[in-house]
């Protein structure tokens, strides 16, 4: 073997090895991408943040502490200006007001009236998951498990992003299916 060959042969083999490993990686996983979990839409969160500002609801609501999840921002994001919160949706706010009215009626045992109020609340804001939760409660009281189950499922869909409410929805689900 010549001296030149002795020098270039290992380099050549090294290049082949790198190329082979590169091709192998691409062949195994052509489009490697982390599993995406679509974040819940931020729509209701600003609305609910705005709701907290309204004294009347705050006084009457059991405070639902929503802590922002602990998150370490990459350095470049920390220097960006904080974006303004989305304008609260007036329909959502009005709907929450009705939700509270309905909840109080439910507590007083006035189930039919409460359901009428929740129906108006759903008409105003179909995104309001709490209405579905309370409707499921109302149907439970009335003894219609099938309806309770359906409304609970809708509540689950809309309250998935809210840990406290999601917990309540799960307990309700157990109550419905357990009966």
């Amino acid at each position: 073997m010549t001296d030149k060959k002795r020098v270039w042969l290992p380099i050549f083999f090294l290049l082949i090895a790198i190329a082979a490993s590169g091709c192998a990686r691409v062949m195994i996983d052509p489009y490697a991408r982390p599993q995406e979990k679509t974040p819940p839409k931020a729509k209701t969160e600003p609305a609910e943040a705005a709701v907290k500002k309204t004294p009347s609801l705050e006084e009457r609501h059991k405070p639902v502490t929503e802590k922002a999840p602990e998150k370490r921002l990459p350095i470049e994001e920390e220097t960006l200006p904080v974006p303004k919160p989305a304008k609260p949706d007036p329909r959502a706010l009005a709907s929450l007001e009705l939700t509270e009215q309905g909840r109080m009626l439910l507590e007083q045992g006035r189930v039919d009236e409460a359901m009428t109020v929740f129906e108006s609340a759903v008409n105003l804001s179909p995104e309001n998951g709490r209405n579905y939760y309370y409707l499921a409660e109302a149907w439970l009281i009335k003894g219609d498990l099938r309806q309770a189950r359906e409304w609970n499922r809708l509540a689950e869909l809309y309250l998935q992003g809210d840990p406290d409410w999601a917990k309540r929805v799960s307990s309700q689900k157990v109550k419905i299916n357990g009966d």
């Binding site: 590169g22 329909r91 009005a94």
Partner: protein, 773 residues
């Protein structure tokens, strides 16, 4: 002897006559007593059971107001007027008054009286900023209200044979001025006589002779009541006697105030189109748009003057004659010492002011028909027209007005653009229908079953069966979602199929440029060939089954033309089926009637929304996404130029030979279906996007309160992937020229990379060592 005999004969004859006379009188007295007893029983029964036939009222839904709400202020003012709010120039001081003052409106609310919900009226200030409510403040406490509910609007009265409308009032509610005015006009000695007033008759005779006209009748109020309430209008002596005896019986059974109360609620006081206005309660609203308690002296005298001849002395018919009669009543009141000279002088010179009235027109007549069709299951027509039931519905009068106006304008516009669509005969005109619903609750907010109810009462939403055309395609695509995805390539090659042994070759109106379309594009562009191809792959029987689960009750058979909507549907069922997508997989029960109460407010019937799971939320989300593409890049993309700048989904529909044009469009908050066509199946020469879609856009533009940026929540089992628009497979980054984001069910998301645009070997090596080009 003979003289004595004569005397004895005379005496016995006298005795016999006396005995016969006494017996006769006794029998007569007994007969009279029996007759009086009969009258007593008749009167007692009449009042014990039900005093009057009260028609049942149908009410719209309540209206909710809240800060931030977008409103068309003109339509809102019309709504307040329909709710019998009258505009005043000063501060509203009575319930039912409103003042508009630039950017704020002061309203003195009516009492809210609903089943299980009563609220005393109070004053509010509603501030506006650019067609949006800025704030609602309660004026007595200066409290900011987060929400305000306006009372429901009466939209219909269900009458029986006698079309009388009345609002019952108690004697305590009637102001003294009205009582005195009525007495002065009709029976000044009412409290003094025993049912018949002989002096009164003489007095009336004198007055009539003095003034040379029939100024006062001789009948007392009791006699008038007897005549109107129990007897047919005959002028015979026999009837007069009967009237006399009934009056006497009434006077023994009831006290004066009770008789007056009956009278004031019974008396005929005018005509509202085909309906009689009876009783002072109804009359004060009809003539002066205010409750009886608020009548002024002048108004009370006017009403009292009407009794003699409601149509002759009506302020709507002849204000001059009305004023003359009113002033005569005022003079009689003064003469009896019931008003002062000053009061009389002021009143005499007052002008005749009345509220003006809308003839009783039918609001939402198709909706009412649909509602009434459900009522016989619960109540007979006699019950409905006499029990004074209150029926609370889901109708939104503003949405109804918007739907009717959009439909009429749209059809007129089409006739103008296409003169061939004009028809001479009204009952053969171009027709249309609109239904508006809230998808989650199933509330029917509006229903226009035709262009003009007066011409045709046929309800094209609930009774017509028409081919849906392409508006049926979403159900084909839905059936395919287990095996196919929005990025699956469908074939749009022309093919021939067999239907009942005959060849059938579907065609596209507009031939697409490319061969092979992704599912999303195929639905957005409404490609017929791709739809049929997909249907054949999915299985026609599966599609028929899917249609069944969505609640289509009309027959469908597994033919290839099913994919193009060749099988007829009822428009209401089509709208309800689309609600399933908009309600994230659940289908609501169509709701028009919410509550029924009796005249005391007791609940008789209550209906709540009910939902049934038809498809998973994930499939619903995918369908909503596909149908959104119809609006953003497909056959409904012209919505962007028609003022629809909020997220919406929908599907156009056109049938063979352009016999039907459809557009079903929706958001999470509202769904509306529009159909256009001829009843006899003539062609309208226009597609769904040209004929029906503009009507939908016009309707939505009139409802700014429903425009929002809201969209459906993506469920966790729906995942997003970037795919190659040309191959439908996963895009190779930096290689595929048209990568787009697509949504998939997690169960069948693509995993293979695009084969069409394979990465070159250098790219693969570089990528392998971590260098992305």
């Amino acid at each position: 002897m003979e003289r004595k005999k004569k005397r004895i004969n005379k005496k016995s004859a006298f005795k016999r006559v006396a005995v016969v006379a006494a017996a006769g009188l006794g029998i007569a007295a007994m007969l009279l007593a029996i007759y009086m007893w009969h009258l007593f029983t008749m009167i007692d029964n009449r009042f014990a059971a039900r005093r009057w036939s009260l028609p049942s009222s149908v009410y719209s839904d309540t209206m909710l107001l809240y800060p931030g709400q977008a409103l068309n202020t003109d339509l809102f003012f019309e709504k307040l007027r329909d709710l019998e709010y009258r505009e005043v120039s000063g501060q509203p001081r009575h319930k039912g008054e409103l003042r508009r003052s630039g950017a704020f409106w002061d309203v003195y609310l009516h009492d809210l009286v609903m089943p299980a919900k009563q609220r005393e009226g109070f004053r509010v200030r509603i501030s506006f900023q650019k067609n949006r409510i800025e704030s609602i403040v309660r004026m007595d406490s200066l409290q900011q209200l987060p929400i305000l509910e306006l009372e429901p609007e009466p939209i219909m009265l269900l009458f029986g044979g006698n079309r009388e409308q009345r609002q019952l009032v108690s004697i305590e509610q009637v102001p003294d001025t009205l009582k005195y005015a009525v007495l002065a006009a009709e029976d000044a000695g009412f409290y003094n006589h025993f049912g018949v007033d002989p002096l009164g008759i003489l007095r009336a005779l004198y007055k009539n002779i003095r003034y040379g006209e029939i100024r006062q009748g001789g009948s007392t109020l009791t006699q008038q009541l007897a005549k109107n309430y129990f007897l047919t209008p005959e002028r015979t002596l026999r009837r007069k006697f009967k009237e006399l005896f009934i009056s006497l019986t009434l006077e023994t059974m009831f006290d004066k105030n009770e008789i007056l109360e009956l009278y004031l609620n019974e008396i005929y006081l005018g005509q509202k189109g085909s309906i009689s206005v009876c009783g002072v309660g109804e009359a004060s609203v009809f003539y002066f748009a205010k409750p009886v308690e608020q009548l002024s002296l002048v108004e009370a005298a006017t009403l009292a003057g009407l009794i003699k001849g409601p149509n002759r002395y009506s302020p709507y018919a002849d204000p001059a004659r009305c004023k003359e009669r009113r002033n005569a009543v005022l003079q009689d009141m003064r003469r009896n010492g019931w008003i002062t000279q000053d009061e009389q002088n002021d009143a005499l010179t007052s002008p005749v002011k009345s509220a003006g009235y809308k003839t009783y027109g039918k609001k939402a007549p198709y909706f009412i028909d649909y509602l009434c069709a459900q009522l016989p299951e619960l109540y007979s027509p006699e019950d409905l027209s006499s029990l004074g039931l209150s029926i609370y519905t889901t109708l939104d009068t503003q949405v109804q007005a918007a739907a009717e106006s959009a439909l009429e304008k749209g059809l007129a516009r089409l006739e103008k653009s296409y003169p061939a669509l004009k028809r001479k005969q009204a009952d053969q005109q171009l027709q249309g229908a609109v239904i508006v619903m809230q998808p989650k609750t199933g509330y029917i907010l509006a229903m226009a079953g035709g262009r003009d109810y007066a011409i045709s009462q046929f309800n094209r939403i609930t009774q017509a069966i028409r081919q849906p055309g392409s508006a049926f395609k979403p159900f084909v695509y839905l059936s395919a979602l287990d095996r196919f995805t929005p990025s699956s390539l469908l074939s749009n090659e022309p093919k021939t199929y067999q239907i009942n042994g005959k060849p059938w070759r579907p065609r596209n109106t507009h031939a697409p440029a490319e061969h092979g379309l992704r599912m999303r594009t195929a639905l957005a562009k409404s490609d017929n060939l791709a739809a049929v191809d997909l249907a054949m792959k999915v299985g026609l029987k599966n599609i028929v089954d899917t249609a069944g689960t969505f609640g289509f009750s009309t027959p469908m058979s597994p033919q290839p033309s099913l994919a193009l909507g060749a099988f007829e549907v009822i428009p209401l069922e089509l709208a309800r089926a689309y609600c399933t997508f908009a309600a994230e997989g659940v289908q609501p029960l169509c709701l028009s009637m919410k509550t029924v109460t009796d005249e005391t407010g007791k609940f008789l019937e209550q209906r709540h929304m009910r939902i049934e799971r038809i498809i998973s939320p994930e499939k619903a989300y995918i369908m909503n996404s596909l149908l959104r593409s119809v609006v953003t890049e497909g056959t409904a993309s012209s919505l962007a130029f028609r003022g629809i700048d909020f997220p919406a989904a929908g599907k156009t529909g056109t049938t063979n030979d352009y016999r039907d044009a459809w557009f079903v469009g929706y958001t999470p908050d509202i769904l509306a279906l529009v159909w256009v066509g001829f009843d006899n199946g003539d062609s309208i020469h226009a597609e769904g996007s040209v004929a029906a879609l503009p009507i939908w856009a016009e309707l939505m533009r009139q409802l700014p309160q429903y425009a929002s940026e809201n969209w459906f929540r993506q469920p966790p089992d729906v995942i997003s992937r970037v795919i190659c628009a040309q191959s439908g497979a996963l895009a190779v980054k930096g290689v595929c020229p048209e990568p787009i984001e697509e949504v998939f069910l997690s169960t069948n998301a693509p995993v293979d990379p695009c084969e069409l645009h394979k990465a070159g070997i250098l790219d693969r090596i570089l990528k392998g060592i971590g260098y992305d080009r």
